[in-house]
């Protein structure tokens, strides 16, 4: 018999007679914190885009909307996002199938390698590609030009297509990882029955396999689309030189040029509204496509799928996969490391030009050390706060289910769909003295507040999923055994979701460590983050030093990732 999953609000109702009760308090805390962290910044953007000194004022928005630079940026943003999504999806699905379903050799190793671009900060990749194929000074470009005896550079990465190429190579894992796991969890008898019914191998792939993993493909594609639309790093590094703008870089440009004045921020807010509209349209479109199919055929447990023999195509496809890996993982990494040893950017990559001086500068300069410290501080703090707050919101939404839980859920997920740049503007507008005189501008706290809004949904999602697994009867049993509501939470619910909370922390901590999109608008003289510091060093022309700091950053990320993998593996055993 059903155990009445939907009735936990009764517990709240039972306690409702008391004037003070925990459920109500937790609900109230959730609403208040989400109001402060998420709602106020978003409201501030909309307000400042359309109101001026308390009056409705559409002229600013219209002015920005009709500004040719902004329209061009909008067009670029769309073009880059659409092509990145299409190419990234095709690439992701192709390699997912190759590694998930064919008999290609060295699968385990390749799978691990294919996940690397996911943890590699894309803007560092863009830096590496710019070093190689910059339209004026790229190392490989120069080498190719001399080799082929050309008068112009053969490849120009500083173009819309260059941006698309770099974004594809770092975003295709979104689709790859989703589809690989869906392929692995798919019941192999579904394909086998199609073969038995008389379908050819090719027909099975097109008519059975791909349609079944369609939801996974859509989910991954959506992730690529929204990430690309909101992305700042790659277009900033590759596009600025040629004055190719996207909406996020345009927002940065406008604010940067105005020297951080209120007018500049207001203009940024108006462009932000354009960006949000574009993202929202993309989400709605995707939702239409995504809702077309949800299948239960993909089971949770792992099954051994039948592998398709590639025969003659095996070796060429293997070489292609290896080549792809070298191109997107190894070459950029090697390039950054090589440049980091150069005495000066532009010198030939010869041994006599190599030095450790850049690393000495990195480790002796107060700014860089401070940036590492800042990043560690905000990332850890944001991770811990989000871990608890996300769990609190998840608990209220899943277990207490107050009136307005839908609103709560939407509010906490909202920043997920709002570009980091936009969020930053909202945070600036909200917390630079305009509300209750609270001014956090130029302090580390404003970055922290922005991270909280940006990453809250991550921990909320993992905690939500874990709470769904904790059946309400477990908590009820504790109550009946004599535990108060608080005690039942502390003794039963929290210990059960602790592993999910920890993984929620790392899900926030790792991306926050290498983040640049949000903090680029928020940093002050003494509050640069690691990403910002690398970006500014490069912007100031100190490319080898930026490369050295980037190498250090990549080292930190690899170490942290290894620790996380170790930690989470141990947890599964218990």
């Amino acid at each position: 018999m059903k155990r009445m999953d939907g009735v936990s609000p009764d517990l709240a109702a039972v306690d409702g007679r008391r004037r003070f009760n925990m459920d109500k308090m937790m609900t109230a805390v959730c609403f208040i914190l989400l109001l402060i962290i998420v709602v106020i910044p978003i409201v501030m953007i909309v307000y400042n885009a359309f109101f001026y000194e308390g009056k409705f004022e559409i002229s600013l928005f219209v002015e920005q909307l009709t500004e040719p630079n902004n329209l061009g940026a909008m067009w670029n943003t769309l073009k880059i996002a659409v092509f990145t999504t299409i190419l990234g999806t095709v690439m992701g699905v192709f390699y997912a199938w190759l590694l998930g379903r064919s008999d290609i050799p060295a699968k385990g190793l390749m799978r691990a390698l294919f996940n690397i671009p996911y943890m590699f900060p894309p803007f560092l990749g863009a830096m590496a590609w710019d070093m190689m194929f910059n339209g004026r000074s790229g190392y490989i470009n120069k080498w190719l030009r001399d080799l082929l005896g050309l008068s112009v550079m053969p490849i120009n990465i500083n173009s819309v297509w260059g941006i698309v190429f770099v974004e594809v190579s770092y975003y295709f894992p979104f689709v790859f990882m989703q589809v690989v796991s869906a392929l692995e969890r798919m019941d192999p008898t579904l394909e086998e029955s199609a073969r038995i019914a008389g379908a050819k191998q090719r027909q099975v792939i097109w008519k059975i396999t791909l349609p079944l993993v369609k939801p996974a493909i859509s989910a991954g594609a959506l992730l690529i689309l929204t990430t690309s639309l909101a992305h700042f790093g790659v277009p900033a590094i590759l596009g600025y030189a040629k004055r190719i703008y996207t909406l996020p870089t345009r927002i940065y440009e406008v604010i940067y040029n105005s020297g951080g004045s209120f007018d500049g921020i207001r203009q940024g807010a108006a462009i932000s509204v354009m960006l949000v509209v574009v993202v929202a349209a993309a989400l709605i479109l995707q939702n239409r496509i995504l809702s077309a199919g949800s299948y239960d055929i993909i089971k949770g447990k792992s099954m051994r799928p039948t592998l398709i023999k590639l025969r003659g195509a095996k070796i060429p496809l293997f070489i292609l996969a290896i080549f792809t890996l070298i191109m997107i993982v190894i070459v950029p990494l090697v390039m950054i490391v090589l440049i980091s040893f150069l005495k000066a950017y532009g010198l030939p990559l010869e041994f006599k030009n190599f030095t450790f001086a850049q690393y000495e500068k990195v480790f002796s300069a107060n700014g860089t050390i401070a940036s590492i410290r800042n990043s560690l501080f905000v990332s850890i703090t944001a991770g811990i706060i989000c871990m608890f707050l996300g769990t609190l919101v998840a608990y209220v939404v899943q277990k207490i289910r107050p009136k307005g839980k839908g609103a709560l859920e939407v509010i906490s997920m909202l920043p997920y769909a709002i570009p980091g740049t936009v969020l930053s503007i909202g945070v600036i507008l909200a917390w630079s003295g305009r509300i209750l005189g609270i001014n956090l501008y130029n302090t580390i706290w404003i970055i922290l507040v922005a991270y909280l809004a940006r990453y809250l949904s991550f921990s909320m999602k993992t905690s939500s999923a874990a709470l769904l697994q904790v059946h309400s009867s477990l908590e009820e049993a504790a109550r009946v055994c004599g535990a108060s509501h608080t005690e039942s939470l502390a003794d039963v619910t929290l210990p059960l979701i602790r592993p999910a909370m920890v993984s929620g922390f790392f899900l926030i901590f790792l991306p926050a460590m290498r983040e640049v999109t949000t903090s680029i608008l928020l940093y002050g003289p003494y509050t640069r983050t690691l990403g910002v510091q690398i970006y500014s060093l490069r912007d100031a022309g100190m490319i080898p030093q930026a490369a050295a700091l980037a190498t250090v950053a990549i080292g930190i990320i690899i170490i942290l990732n290894t620790i996380v993998t170790k930690l989470t593996k141990d947890r599964k055993g218990v």
Partner: protein, 361 residues
């Protein structure tokens, strides 16, 4: 040991009324089975007793202690009600060992440490789980987890022990064992046990008293199992407990007859109101006997040997009915072959108005 009194309980989920003015008095020191089809409100009643939901009206008292009274605005918190519960899905905490699970209620009652250990081990002894004290629940089978849940429920001296379908997930043999076990535990503790189930078979095996609940959440009969089988209060009880055949009754020119596609004369007594039309005769399979001299003739469609009895499907006119022949009758009267024609007689019949939409055998 205490009696449990539900009075005038009404509970709604939104606009969906689950219980309306429901009253039931569970006698002290007895095993009372609350039996009813899925979704009739059994679990809701239990949750109200435990204090996990709050009814709109009525009161709940255990012994002379009032746990809930809508009028007097009394609502004792779940943790202060002192009721043992075995949930349907065990609800054994997966992050605690078996012993920790059983100790938990004692800890919450601030029982001294050395006594906790002693009492917990005694409870585990009673369910034969002492050697698993250090195991985690995921190392146990469903039946073992069930026993941990029972140990956790009996470790404190609760006034009342509630078991919500505690054995539905076990296999047949273990189910039998657990029923005996529950019986023994009740004897030892002398506690009042409220046992919830939709399975009449285990209810019959276990209970002292049975309460039958109907789909709409009303109580239709409360009594001993004998009373309920032999003197069902209404058609629902008759149909729900045990197997039953229903045949429409009509008043033909030649007197009372059964409508089986063709009219078959019926010689027994039929109350006058049953002849007015729209009534049915109800008869249990084991209340049908072979009688070579009976004018009521039927054909044997199939015969299945069930170990302790024979199960027949007979065609009476165009209607199929079910009949059971005990081993004793089979010895004395012999068994009927498939395809043969037999005379049958109804021993114990009841008359009920027909359900809307007609009813099958």
């Amino acid at each position: 040991m205490a009696n449990v009194r539900f009075e005038d309980i009404t509970f709604r989920y939104g606009t969906n009324t689950v219980l309306e003015h429901f009253s039931l008095d569970v006698e002290s020191g007895k095993i009372v089975c609350l039996v009813g089809p899925s979704g009739c409100g059994k679990t809701t009643l239990v949750r109200a007793l435990l204090g996990l939901i709050k009814p709109e009206t009525g009161s709940i008292t255990v012994g002379d202690r009032c746990l809930f009274d809508a009028k007097k605005r009394i609502n004792v918190a779940a943790e202060k009600r002192n009721i043992g519960i075995v949930f349907q899905d065990y609800a054994v905490w997966p992050h605690m060992t078996v012993l920790e699970n059983v100790c938990y209620p004692l800890k919450k009652q601030r029982v001294p440490k050395d006594e906790i250990q002693k009492r917990a081990m005694r409870a585990l002894e009673q369910v034969h789980m002492t050697e698993y004290a250090r195991h985690l629940p995921n190392q146990l089978s469903g039946g073992q987890q069930q026993r941990v849940a029972i140990a956790r429920a009996i470790v404190v001296d609760s006034d009342v022990l509630v078991m919500d379908e505690p054995i539905t997930n076990l296999d047949a043999k273990l189910r039998e064992e657990m029923l005996l076990e529950i019986r023994m535990i009740q004897k030892r503790l002398g506690a009042t046990i409220l046992y919830i189930t939709h399975d009449q078979q285990s209810a019959l095996q276990l209970c002292d008293k049975m309460a039958i609940m109907q789909q709409d959440g009303t109580l239709c009969q409360y009594g001993s199992d004998e009373e309920i089988i032999l003197r069902p209060a209404n058609r629902f009880t008759f149909e729900f407990i045990g197997v039953s055949n229903f045949i429409p009754v009509l008043n033909s020119a030649a007197g009372p007859a059964l409508d089986c596609g063709e009219q078959i004369p019926y010689s027994g007594d039929v109350p006058a109101e049953a002849l007015a039309g729209g009534w049915e005769i109800g008869v249990r399979p084991n209340d049908i006997v072979f009688d070579a001299g009976s004018p009521m003739r039927a054909r044997v469609d199939s015969r299945v040997f069930l170990g302790s009895e024979y199960n027949y499907f007979l065609s009476l006119g165009k209607k199929q009915i079910r009949m059971q022949q005990s081993m004793l009758d089979a010895r004395t009267q012999g068994i009927a072959d498939e395809g043969s024609e037999v005379g049958i007689r109804f021993l114990n019949v009841r008359f009920y108005p027909a359900k809307k939409g007609g009813s099958a055998a």
